[in-house]
């Protein structure tokens, strides 16, 4: 009996839930951004905007003005921290819950609302032209990120791809295939596992017997690391390190961020059917906004008055976005035909004509 291989998974956390450095952390050894007030405030302010927008989106759904919507509450540090670690020329392959990353990168509120309001045009991001659109079939996006990373590698571009995936998503074989090929080809891609402990009603313990999700990378021979996903400093730093490795040709990393889904899975879900109020309460006790705000207040970078003023600002921005959304009209019936092919077949054009005619004669519809 000899040992053929050994592995371990490290866990990174800097701040405690009250926004103080953990005893074992020496702040001086942390990266520059943790001491840069502008960066710190930028991250926090985005978290606040995201939470406020998220709340608004839920309300829009409740009042019949938006379709099913997947709330992001609780994920702000995981999402904004990742965004802050990425370069503009990198690309992300999101799932459906990543508005925090998207908004930082330039996705507009009207785009988010249009998509969840039932219009594909929402995916035609004006500012982040290379980012992948929302992805509903679980785990499939991990391969798109790997493919984009392969393109970067082939073209010798110093860019990285980052794929989001949920704890539930890690059970799909696709995720593993993506990690495996990324490992073999040493692709500049990060598999960013946002472990919020639930996949709809399925708790982590029914999802996998693995103690951590970071260790899933071991199967592919790639490094994995776990981070407190409610600690935006740790999230950003861990991802910056992984991205630096990737950018320098050292290949992919699996980063697991531990967080909690504070809301229902989507507005169509009722999480109280399957999880206890006390568990949710515990989730609120460690949620990321409070922690970052406390951290900033300890540094005297933020106070209640600023908070109130900034929230006001957010509301105005959101109102603007919502109004823009309300002003978008129903797409024309031709929209479902016109983006399917560069060279549409004749038969499709015939069907398009038929649909146009019918939509002109709307009153006849049953």
């Amino acid at each position: 009996m000899s040992t053929a291989a050994q592995f371990d998974i490290q866990y990174r956390q800097y701040l405690d839930p009250e926004g103080r450095f953990l005893p074992e952390v020496d702040p001086a050894t942390l990266p520059e951004f943790t001491r840069d007030p502008a960066e710190l405030l930028k991250m926090y302010r985005m978290m606040v905007l995201v939470r406020a927008f998220d709340t608004k989106a839920i309300n829009l759904q409740r009042t019949g003005k938006l379709g099913t919507y997947p709330p992001a509450a609780g994920h702000e540090a995981a999402q904004v921290g990742a965004a802050a670690a990425l370069h503009a020329e990198d690309v992300i392959a999101p799932v459906y819950r990543e508005i925090g990353t998207q908004m930082w990168r330039g996705v507009r509120m009207v785009e988010i609302l249009r998509y969840w309001g039932g219009d594909e045009a929402g995916n035609d991001f004006v500012n982040t032209r290379h980012d992948f659109p929302w992805c509903v079939p679980i785990a499939t996006q991990t391969l798109h990120a790997a493919g984009a990373a392969l393109a970067f590698k082939i073209r010798n571009q110093p860019r990285c791809a980052l794929a989001y995936i949920g704890d539930g998503g890690t059970s799909e074989g696709t995720f593993y295939e993506a990690m495996n090929v990324a490992g073999v080809l040493k692709l500049p891609v990060i598999f960013y596992v946002v472990n919020n402990r639930w996949a709809i009603s399925t708790p982590l313990c029914q999802q996998t017997a693995a103690q951590t999700l970071a260790q899933k990378g071991i199967a592919a021979g790639i490094p994995g690391i776990q981070v407190d996903g409610n600690d935006i400093l740790a999230v950003r730093h861990v991802l910056e390190q992984a991205l630096a490795r990737a950018r320098h040709g050292e290949g992919p990393t699996v980063v697991e961020a531990l967080t909690y889904r504070l809301s229902d899975h989507t507005t169509a879900d009722d999480a109280s059917r399957y999880r206890s109020a006390s568990e949710v309460e515990q989730g609120w006790a460690v949620e990321p906004m409070k922690r970052m705000r406390a951290f900033l207040q300890h540094l005297n970078l933020w106070d209640e008055a600023q908070e109130v003023a900034y929230r006001q600002e957010c509301n105005l921005l959101i109102e603007e976005g919502v109004n823009e959304y309300f002003a978008t009209t129903k797409p024309p019936v031709t929209a479902m035909f016109d983006h399917l092919y560069a060279n549409p077949p004749k038969r499709l054009l015939d069907q398009r004509d038929e649909a146009v005619q019918l939509s002109g004669a709307k009153s006849l519809h049953g």
């Binding site: 379709g67 594909e120 169509a268 006849l364 049953g366």
Partner: protein, 324 residues
């Protein structure tokens, strides 16, 4: 006798069969405590325990593959795939194993599996939640594809599907999951598979359809009746294998055929029905066949989905066209 919705009838059928056949079990994502995203398996885990109602990890191919292995050992798994747009990871197991195990082993091992999945759109769901790709599955030899159009048929056909010794893909039209209540006697009586159900008799034109489109088709038939046109409405019910006889008989009487389905037209199941009639009932046809279907586009998101699916007006127009 209770008045139940289609989705409640599904639950009743599960409950009956699990109570009477210890080999029947249920598995899928969120089917246990949560009772399924549409509550089709509500209460079953509480009653039958988590060895017979199994919440699985998130992987459709895994669910289908487990079914093959369990069925080979004589169990009768009933699996739920949350939406038809998420069935593709299970294709390999369905095409290459579930439908082939009997043939491959000359009957030594068999695969009595039911895969249930929602079918079609119309309820303002997000992307990929409105698919109706039955035609892909109908092309698979060895597979039955069934789609009920009422609570009573949901109950009777699901029982039949579970009792069938071979795999069945059972499609549940989401748009009518809760559309209407119907008296359903919970007596364990199955309805026959492999036959059509004539929902309305008529003499001028045959309308063949299935699932949620039966509702539009029946409405169209009523509208046509008001216009003095008598349309026969046939619910295909078992989409594969097709009960060609009932359709051919009807067309022999009416001379006209309109096929209505939600799926895209190109190589949809409507094509097969048209082909059967063009082969075996050509001389009965007094007018070209008409297909009223989803367009050959991707099902659009909510704001355009009603422009995509067949409407009463399109069906009425098609029937009138066959008569002009």
């Amino acid at each position: 006798m209770a008045k139940v919705t289609l989705v409640e009838a599904i639950t009743l059928a599960h409950n009956w069969e699990m109570s009477h056949d210890p080999d029947v079990l249920v598995l899928g994502q969120d089917v246990g405590r949560n009772g399924g995203v549409f509550r089709a398996t509500q209460g079953l885990q509480e009653k039958f325990g988590n060895q017979r109602v199994i919440d699985t990890p998130l992987a459709e191919g895994m669910i289908a593959g487990l079914c093959v292995g369990m069925a080979a050992q004589g169990l009768k798994p009933v699996a739920e795939i949350q939406f038809m747009g998420f069935i593709y990871p299970a294709m390999d197991q369905i095409v290459n194993h579930m439908t082939r195990l009997r043939n491959r082993t000359r009957g030594r091992l068999t695969c009595p599996v039911v895969i249930r999945t929602p079918h079609g759109g119309g309820i303002h769901s997000p992307e990929h939640h409105s698919e109706s790709v039955e035609s892909m599955f109908c092309h698979i030899p060895g597979l039955r594809v069934v789609c009920p159009s009422s609570p009573a048929r949901a109950y009777g056909l699901l029982l039949a599907a579970i009792r069938e010794p071979d795999p069945v893909l059972f499609l549940e039209p989401v748009r009518i999951y809760r559309y209407a209540r119907q008296e359903v006697e919970d007596n364990g009586q199955a309805l026959p598979l492999d036959v059509c159900y004539v929902l309305r008799e008529g003499t001028d034109c045959t309308i063949v359809t299935w699932g949620a489109m039966t509702v539009e088709s029946l409405k169209a038939a009523e509208e046509l009746a008001r216009q003095g046109i008598s349309a026969e409405v046939i619910d295909l019910a078992t989409i594969s294998p097709i009960d060609a006889e009932t359709i051919l008989d009807s067309v022999a009487r009416t001379g006209r055929l309109v096929i209505v389905h939600e799926a895209a037209r190109n190589v949809g199941v409507g094509a097969e029905i048209a082909a059967i009639v063009a082969e075996h009932g050509l001389y009965d046809l007094e007018a070209p066949i008409q297909r009223v279907t989803g367009y050959d586009t991707i099902v659009p998101l909510a704001r355009l989905e009603h422009d995509y699916a067949p409407s009463v007006a399109r069906i009425v127009a098609a029937v009138r066209a066959t008569l002009s």
